[in-house]
Symmetry: C2
DNA sequence: CGCGTGATTGAGGGTCCTCAATGCCGGTGG
DNA sequence: CCACCGGCATTGAGGACCCTCAATCACGCG
């Protein structure tokens, strides 16, 4: 339970002021589609780069909203907690993805967001983003596309939760990770899971035992190899076929 | 099956040019938070008001995206269709709500969107919305809040699909409708469902028989009365208690 | 090295799905 | 006007899938 401790204070501002111009994420993050001058302008709004250590929360649901956070490196999970204690993991976020989009509506963060490994995030003050967006239409447009993508992704998860069986859900999940990783230059067939079976289950609407069994089943079928957190996708095409795509 | 016929052509432009200034939805739609002059300015971008008859599609997934649509009156469902034939209803939309937000990311509509009763929508050309938004910061901000609200709502649905039982899902669904209807001046305790059991089931991740059984169960427990499409919420507080809220 | 957390696997039970029959309502045509 | 028909809804019986509870195992960290 140690990693559930809240540790806002240790979310310390890091060393150097970050710059989007030299960032390796220019083609997956907010700067997509901007020219050099525009990226430079965007760069002025990124105040701080924060470090968030594994198990620490970047923000909690209900806290006042001022900034979005772009994942510079690392891995996060977002989850919501109902009053009766039930939780739901609403998403996993990797390099170049934007945290906190749900907070805009009520100006309070809508999820608890925790680092699943030591991570860094760039703080994006939202009021300034709106302001600079007015001067750089392609930036505003890119931001809208990012929000829209989150909506589409959530609809895909609804499809998954609403009408797929356990093995299909897990296969879909693995293929989604694979795609996102490969877009970032990592292997699309072999990677380490940063989350536990319990967290996967919470995301997929399954109990951890079912997740475990489904991993074993996929392995028996020869579609993947799994050992603890290490996954290898052996037959990507068949995985896609399994989920009907 | 007649109401599944595609009938884009009969989605005809309607008579008069609409105006946001006199619209009864000023406090639930895009104009929220704007002053009179700003609403007038916003009004210039609303090109057409369309009629969409019950069973007709406003747009289909994959079609080129140019405009969002605000529901002027009526009721819509949005759904996604996988290549293997599975469908998922991703949302129901009523007066003052915005259709097509998922289309921004890929500039193609991401869902099929159908009217469940004779309806009217205001067309909001997206490029112009971004343009006018630059001149009216509160409009842009309101738009961001609307997108954000959709994300939060989708997360709530994920919670529902991931960790609630059939009766709880249905109770949550009814209470959500109730809230949105009362915000629009309708009864929060008695209303007509515009959708079939099948559509409710698709949204809630249940089969239509289970939806029907759950209605009956809630009725036996005295929490609601249900007769065909007519629902009456008899004990709202207990319904909330049932879903752990 | 031992402890704690996380993962795997099994047995049994519950919830929801599947299949099927019946009922209801509105629309259509004889 | 009534009979019929199609779509929608209800209800039942049986089975599939996943959950619950529990024991065991593996791994990493102090």
């Amino acid at each position: 339970m140690l990693n559930k401790l809240v540790a806002e204070h240790s979310v310390v501002a890091a060393q150097q002021k970050p710059s989007c111009t030299t960032c390796s994420l220019r083609d997956v993050c907010l700067p997509v589609g901007l020219d050099d001058a525009e990226v430079q302008h965007l760069s002025t709004l990124i105040k701080h780069k924060f470090r968030v250590r594994r198990g620490e929360y970047l923000f909690h649901a209900g806290a006042d909203f001022k900034s979005l956070y772009a994942v510079k490196n690392g891995f996060f999970k977002a989850s919501i907690l109902k009053t009766d204690g039930r939780t739901q993991v609403t998403g996993f976020y990797m390099t170049g993805e934007l945290l906190g989009l749900g907070a805009i509506s009520l100006e309070k963060y809508s999820c608890d967001t925790m680092a699943l490994e030591d991570s860094e995030v760039c703080e994006v003050p939202f009021a300034k983003l709106e302001e600079i967006g007015r001067a750089i239409p392609p930036l505003m447009n890119q931001f809208h596309k990012i929000m829209s993508r989150e909506i589409v992704h959530d609809h895909d998860v609804m499809m998954l939760l609403g009408s797929m069986k356990a093995e299909e859900r897990l296969a879909t999940f693995l293929l989604n990770l694979s795609t996102r990783l490969s877009r970032r230059g990592y292997s699309s067939t072999e990677f380490n899971l940063k989350m536990t079976r319990h967290e996967i289950g919470s995301y997929l609407g399954l109990k951890l035992e079912t997740v475990s069994r489904s991993f074993s089943k996929l392995q028996e079928e020869g579609l993947i190899s799994i050992s603890n957190k290490r996954v290898k996708l052996e037959k990507i095409a068949e995985l896609y076929r399994k989920i009907g795509d």
